[in-house]
Symmetry: D2
């Protein structure tokens, strides 16, 4: 009997000396980036590109050294041996492809969002868990030096308790026929919050407000709010109609406040030793008001961040989690936590912004985050 | 009988040649600014400073040429003649002072918010209307060159139909014992939206989400959302805990989008000729999806703004509205529209963010905005 | 006899239907960029990569579809047919490689600076002119949308007469053993000024001030000043020791002033309709003082710039100049004008900043700029 | 005999309990600022405003509590007792007013530049020294929190040895009839460098390049370069024709580099722990090249700066230097060091940028900086 605390009860069958073999499925927008990083990785052999559109697959495969090309997962599986597949197809197709690959014993990396619905996503998580396979969510931002530094600073207590998180991700964006702006952009913010918050992303409920002023049939402007532990709150602003691009997250803490501006390459993270000192603990409102409120106007500090390609780190983590028989750092369950919030947001949006409960994840499943 | 379309059925008793006389009530944070601008105005004579704390009043009165000082409105009214009073005392006291002044036949300027509640505010509006006196809201931002330019551009159709308004007003702020962050900061954003939107600020309902992570008893972080005409939406973000100061409003339109960044003195307003061209009008969702969506990546333009002191323009408008027997541009009713939204926001906040209806204003009252 | 006003008295022997064949020489820092752009071009066939270090050449050639590799120009020329070579080797080697290629009848593109000295550069220009071959300087910045727009605005008179040009190009840079900071960075600024100024870069003299505070043997900080027509002046600041990166050029004109900030992708160019109105023409100093000086504080305007890869435009221009038998837009003579200023700057630097004359270019040579 | 190391051999005759009395001479642009700060000071009594234009003097005197007004220094001196005068008249008049005041036994504060020429300035310094009076230069920037912090960081060795100083001070400025842009703006940069460099401002020579493209009779664009100790260099860029305002000083050091951006109120100073590590000391160029050059890409740090009014600190220092019988921190000699560089710059400018020697200051005079 396996008494591993990890959900992957896997006797790793991977030859430690050999490269892992991977096929990238989907040669559209994101697939070529994955393919390039698998190609460049010391841990992987890029074995195939799969796309219904053979020409599109060839365009990706050619410059990477004429990697073999297939038009379907079936064709791939019946022709060559791979250890893993990376799925970069439209979200609504993730589920079927992932299940087929898992049933064939392949480890699976899935582009965000994990699936089109909570139900389909859980089927993928269950299928992977049953077979002891790695199901990994491609939460790319969690592998950027900035987000890794933010997680480290929070873990070390440098910010103190979190008071609020405010994330703005707005830009002129492609109005899409089958996803709204929440499903398109908010997975980034949600997966980052899941990664940096000590307890992960676990709100009880969320409220979503949006608008479709162009009559596209989908919200193009959106605001998502939910509670964080200790009466803190998170807000996410996503917008496809803004001519100025903003990618900024402010994380307020009792000790310091961090501002991450992803568009300032030389100084992405600033940590402000400024804030309000407020002593809690009194019994009455009157006493509270009498308590001392004071200001700290301390120094600002910007940590140097290494120049590292996040996708390179991500594919390395995919390989490491397979070899070590453990969950990936951005696991299928992390993908589920994001998906559950997105589903609740959609329900809230339909109900005019009413708070909507977020499904929780079966605790037994969660050996790790 | 007066058949003036203006709500002020006033036979102006003001001598057109003479200066109008005003007393400033409240010598705390804002009163000195008002006093300085009345003193510098060609239209006003600053007749008195009134404050319970005589020393504080004298500190304001001295450098302005030893203006007379009184410790109460009663003392003022029984001693000298004034045409108007400007009230810059705490919000909860506006009502009593304003009513007493109106009853004594004085025109009244009131610092934002107009009053502590809708009921008290309406009593002020009614009292002024009955007596044909000007009741003006000190919505200072509406007299800044930037906001006047924004109103002008919208009126002229330069932005097209409004798609969204997103306003961020965050800074390290004084946590206050009796107002939360909505009542402290959002009146600015709301009065600006009231001023620039062709129909004024008239949402049916609002949703407010906030947090009090320091346990001060009042929300320190807040988000307010409401619908604008034509399926557009507005969002206001107010925050006392942010170490970085942001004062930015983005106004998206079908033709152009305007970004107002109040902290960039040399280029406060930028108008982007960028956006999404989307043809509405089709019957089915399928047809809509088939419709052309295209992008415009045009030029950016920053209008030169004159350097004018907004408070100077505001006191000039106060004088002009009195002399011309008309409502002020930022009238008591404008103050009411802001107050009604604030009250609804407080209710929404208490109910965990549920949409709360905004009281409407009796149409008969509104001869003008 | 050919009576073409163009210095290239060339009967173009190029088959208009076929692709032009090019070899890239030098697989170090810049060569791979050239190779990639030739590969992607509709006008070119990338026929070979040449580098003494075969492994380095293979690394470039592989991902581009296993382009043939050679270890020397001789090996290339004796093995395959090409129409042109692109030289991206260290500056001191440009001369020999270019002359050999020109003698073999090949058109030549050379990375900046054209050569290690004026004398060697002129030999290259002469050799190309004698044979009716294109010698082109790879002044990449002249093909960026920003610089092309600046040239256009100046040509159209939008800025009026130029009053000053101030260019800052500072960053933490690689201290190099055989070039100083002037030769490393200033060719960019000089080639841009050559391109945008109606008469090209033709100062009589320059003054250069520099410092080598680390004792590296080469100036790491440098300032270059020279006169522009009509009593205007240019200043170029280059610096390898600055931890902040600045790439900014301010071009002041009598009508408007343009600021180009290359690090602000969304708004690289701003045109300020601000300035000083000053009437010249009076006879005495006293009269001058009496003349009206006034200010214009007009609007600011940022033209939309297309997203185009400058190297792609540059290789297209190389092909077009060959096919049309004309000088390239950034010709060998443009390279010479830059080289002459660099040489004079070095002399000035040696003489403690004394003005040093800039060699002029034989007028007969210059059929075109 | 006095054996004080301070140049002021003064038996202070000032009553330690009483306020010092001061008259401000000149009610134009700067005088009112001085008057306001003397008025607000705990150490000073503002006794009079002096201006030839009585109306102008009254406009300043009125709001400050009807301070007495005089039309000349003589009228002042024959009417009331003062300890000191502060001179804010045009530069060419400083000399006569200061000498008359010193001869009457008054301490003197002089706006920058100290005088119209080196000779006149030295006469002022000598006159003050003879009488044991304080002659202080109003180098206001040296009392800003930013500059005081920079001086402190350099003193503590936080930057290491200085490698370069680059100061840019450009803006749309008033073209003036009798000073050029160097004399108008560079005194700021020069007095700051004098204050922050351990040895003060003592270049052997300077080179100045300028232009007068509008034909105003005075340079409107200027660049000043000079050597700093240890082969470092300073560059100052002043410009009246720039539509964008830049006030930035970069101070590169062997250990860290400091960037001071005076237009970013919330983060004026940034200290970059980035740079180039280069080992000096080798004998040959070949060895130098073989030496290790490496990069440090460390953190960035912005010290919190107190909010203090520099003019308030400056008038306090004026009082303290009088009471303590010592030189002021920005003494007349500091003013002379700035003046000497300005004179040399003017000579260099006349000679087309040729290096011009800077007069040195008699060592005996300099007990202190």
């Amino acid at each position: 009997m396996v008494s591993n605390s990890d959900p992957l009860h896997q006797e790793s069958s991977v030859d430690p000396g050999a490269l892992l073999k991977v096929a990238v499925i989907g040669a559209g927008y994101w697939g070529p980036n994955l393919a390039r990083n698998f190609k460049a990785s010391q841990a992987w052999e890029l074995s195939a590109i799969v796309d219904q559109d053979r020409g599109r697959a060839l365009k990706v495969a050619g410059p990477l050294g004429d990697v073999p090309v297939f038009e379907s997962l079936d064709a791939l599986l019946s022709s060559i041996e791979v250890d893993a597949v990376a799925i970069a197809t439209p979200a609504r197709t993730h589920h079927l492809i992932a299940l087929a690959a898992l049933e064939a014993g392949k480890h699976v990396l899935v582009e965000k969002p994990l699936a089109g619905s909570r139900e389909l996503g859980m089927a993928m998580v269950d299928a992977a868990a049953e077979r002891g396979l790695v199901l990994m969510a491609d939460h790319t931002y969690c592998y950027t030096p900035a987000v890794m530094k933010i997680r480290e600073l929070i873990e070390q207590g440098e910010l103190g308790d979190i008071l609020f998180i405010d994330s703005v991700r707005i830009n002129l964006g492609l109005v899409q026929p089958d996803v709204d702006v929440f499903w398109d952009l908010a997975p980034h913010d949600l997966s980052i919050i899941d990664f940096i918050m000590p307890g992960g992303l676990r709100p009880d409920s969320v409220a979503a407000h949006g608008a479709d002023p162009l009559g596209t049939g989908k919200a193009c402007v959106g605001h998502l709010t939910f509670a964080l532990p200790n009466n803190a709150m998170a807000h996410i602003n996503v917008n496809w109609l803004s001519p100025t691009k903003i990618r900024q997250m402010i994380i307020g803490g009792t000790k310091r406040t961090l501002v991450w501006d992803d568009l300032v390459p030389q100084q992405r993270i600033s940590v402000y030793d400024r804030g309000i000192n407020f002593e809690k603990a009194s019994t009455s409102a009157a006493q509270r008001q009498a308590q001392a409120i004071s200001y700290r106007m301390g120094d600002t500090w910007s940590p140097a961040l290494p120049e590292k390609e996040p996708l390179g780190l991500m594919v390395a983590e995919f390989a490491a989690s397979i070899r070590e028989g453990r969950s990936a750092r951005t696991s299928g369950l992390a993908g589920m936590r994001v998906l559950n919030v997105l589903e609740a947001a959609s329900r809230s949006l339909e109900q005019g912004g009413e708070r909507s409960f977020v499904a929780s994840i079966d605790v037994q499943l969660e050996g790790t985050r």
